[in-house]
Subunit: 211 residues, 2 copies
Amino acid sequence: KNVTSANDAIAAQNTQVLDKHGILAINLMSSPGSGKTSLILKTIEHFKGELRLAVIEGDVASKIDADRIDKQGVPVVQINTGGSCSLEAHMVTSALDKLPLERADILLIENVGNLICPAEFTLGEHKKVVISSIPEGDDKPLKYPLMFTEADVLVINKIDLLSHFEFDVTGFRKAVKGLNPTIEVFEVSCKTGVGIQAWCSWIADELRKKR
Amino acid sequence: KNVTSANDAIAAQNTQVLDKHGILAINLMSSPGSGKTSLILKTIEHFKGELRLAVIEGDVASKIDADRIDKQGVPVVQINTGGSCSLEAHMVTSALDKLPLERADILLIENVGNLICPAEFTLGEHKKVVISSIPEGDDKPLKYPLMFTEADVLVINKIDLLSHFEFDVTGFRKAVKGLNPTIEVFEVSCKTGVGIQAWCSWIADELRKKR
Ligand SMILES: Nc1nc2c(ncn2[C@@H]2O[C@H](COP(=O)(O)OP(=O)(O)OP(=O)(O)O)[C@@H](O)[C@H]2O)c(=O)[nH]1
Ligand SMILES: Nc1nc2c(ncn2[C@@H]2O[C@H](COP(=O)(O)OP(=O)(O)OP(=O)(O)O)[C@@H](O)[C@H]2O)c(=O)[nH]1
Ligand SMILES: [Mg+2]
Ligand SMILES: [Mg+2]
């Protein structure tokens, strides 16, 4: 419990820095390979010329994801945790120092791919988003409940693959709403672009509400 | 480090119990939804009437996976970690007490779905297997290196979906061999059955070598 309260204090400082700059920060969490980076790339594409995005990438190792973001000309910092299974608030603090916050509207934080640990650490974000993909199967909310309980938004990704799996979308949404009745749900495909408009409208609305 | 040495001591006791019964124990690890349970079900189907299997299921919550195994008439114990991101050796010790070890040849341990933490805890198994699936993408070895370094076997699952993804199997295998040159690799589909024969032959060989 001490770990989390020390983390929470640092997270609150991060929130203050973000609020000072009028930035909406979103913490994106999922299993490895659900589509966090793909969703960020689609979001960058959608807001080009409209809103200014910045990205923090969290991974155990490598800068593969930051390089994908950097190619889009968006400010990005790669954090390597060196083994820890989640980003923590102090890691985000030093990443914020490296970003041009005065020229950003939205901060997307891609957490380490893990459906358990990241749900336990707040980073100072305003909204938590869990991404679950069709190929993983529809039983994840019951098996990894905390992540679905804590999130403000659920994005069901890779919806283009629905015909290849026995994935019960209605049952899945019901299980998640059972854990978290106020969660917002978006069904998207980062491959075909389906649902990206609605997801981005939610971001724009949340930014408007904040300002 | 103290945590792991205490865990290792308990793991060594587990290995002794398994060796006394001449049982080959395999620790199956992967991201959530890569196909651990599906691979176990295919393995049960393959060895029916030939070798006696027992299963330990590890999850944060629920007994969904144990129920799927139980339906096949195979002895199974469900461990719920209550939040911990990996099985630990002491959890396996109490599960072993509940299994008919005198009537088992192979013990399959399905770890918690997580590509990071389970690589740090030995459970007393003889072999570690990492399962990576096509929909997750081909960059996982570089982003989650410890799991691929520690494993004895890599199973690439959902190979039936290869045509739907830009997954570079050759590059993926090369990256894993770069981390772990002696790892054995199997390409399988738990949906079509491709590669399951070779995977099961490896298990039978390992059991023969042990006895
Ligand atoms: N068919 C399909 N594939 C997708 C979709 N979104 C992502 N992918 C593929 O899924 C794989 C993983 O996508 P990433 O965006 O790298 O996933 P991630 O969650 O960022 O992965 P990590 O950062 O390693 O945890 C890649 O092969 C993507 O091309 C989608 O909507 N449909
Ligand atoms: N197309 C295809 N789908 C598969 C294959 N193997 C498993 N699946 C599907 O993938 C989903 C997840 O499979 P599971 O076996 O439950 O995965 P798991 O690793 O045990 O999941 P957790 O225990 O929750 O971490 C299910 O919808 C399966 O039907 C395969 O080879 N091909
Ligand atoms: Mg990514
Ligand atoms: Mg399973």
